[in-house]
Amino acid sequence: MSVRRSLQAFPTMLRIGFAEALAYRAEMLVWILSTTMPLVMLAIWHAVARDEPIGRFGGDEMIAYFLATFIVRQLTGSWLAWMINAEVRDGTLGLRLLRPVHPLLSYAADALAALPVRGLLSIPIATVALVVFAGPELETRPAVWVVWLFAVLGGWLITLAVNLAIGCLAMLIESSIKVMDVWLALYFVFSGYMLPVELFPDWARDVLDWLPFRYQLGLPVELMTGAYELEHGLVMLGRQWIVVAATFGLVALLWRAGVRRFAAFGG
């Protein structure tokens, strides 16, 4: 099936994914509640920075940072690695392979379609809280917000690619959930999710600039809270999109190797 026909089918796939997400909305609510780690981290870092600021972070900056973290996580979250693992194990991936649309594209549609439901439940509340409690700390220059839009898109794409890559790995090693666990542990600590990347010592920050984690979450959050001048923000965005390209290259490699080995258990 040509790329053009695939793209024509894409809106329908999005509608199906949206309906599915809506059908399991109670479950979705619990998932959202379980991503409340930024709020706990907010309490801790607020206690640390309340009386005396750390770097550019006082109490209010911490509130802005972690509410922004919560919002960006909701916008860029993905659980496809677990889903692909399950489908590889029970063989339903075989059904996806039979359809005339590329399986990776159908996974991407699922992920994209669930976003509005996730977002509608949580983002309005978090945004109001952000503006009320930490309005003055937010970025005000429209140009930076344009960069932010692309940074969120980039962060979403990297997270999607990592999930797809680790999902493809499941075709090669039967279960890659543990690989995902390791990735997630690193992501929590080094992406800016548990603490702002800016608070790491200099040498650690230099290392983190070369790892993908910060570009998944930290960069959009930093842009929202006014950490960058426009030029520096653009440079960071450029680096982020190099990571996007690299991770999708990895997906292509792993997909080709994996699909050759995939034997559709029980199929």
């Binding site: 998932w31 801790i44 929590f188 603490l195 608070l199």
Partner: protein, 262 residues
Amino acid sequence: MRGYLSLLAFQLRTSFALALQYRVDFVLEGFIEVFWTVTALVPLFVIYDVREAVAGWSFGEALMVTGCFTLLQAVLEGVISPCMTLVVEQIRKGTFDFVLLKPKDSQFLVSTARVMPWRAVNVVTAGVLFAVGFAEIGRAPALLDLAVAAALLVAGIAILYSLWMVAASVAFWVVKIDNLTFLFSSIFDAARWPSSVFRGFLRVLFTFVIPLAVMTTFPAQALLGRAGTVEIVGGLGTAVLALVVSRRLWVRAVGRYTSASS
């Protein structure tokens, strides 16, 4: 009573045999558990790199809380969680019938059904954290303090067990609760920090609704020789209350069980 003890020994033997069967997998799981624990320490290091004390806790003292948390989490991952996953699966499939047919107490049977020793490897990590913490403070713990701390840790485990027991009982009504336990685990994660860090709503939530403070901060205070009557009575009292409530709920829930096929 003796019957239950030998039954417990038997159940444990079966679990260990099962664990040895998949040893590569479980060694890997143990490794990942330790990896998670160590990476989760990074924020603690970064905070105490810039501050001497946070909310009245020095680095060594905060390590006590993290140690208690790590210990409780190891018990949760290694013992409580596997049993609860098993019982929820049995309820869903209807094989819980076989548990009820046995002439022993059903709560005892499900709570001892499966132990995953490799996942409890973090008990060792907790020991290391305590040792480093006391080295940092520059003294050894008093014997009496150790005894009180041990009692409060047992109370903490009892509370944790009761919470998961309540979740398992809820499964008789709503069947699908795997994301409920996921939610609980992510809330429990806040227990790695001293409770005095939290203020306002979170403080009320973590003291009275989900007593995280009782589970990890109280035993840590005991280790440091700072536990007063409030901590000791509060800790043990909460544990007894939690056990009684969860037991009653379990009995009611089992009474409602209608099996999956009928």
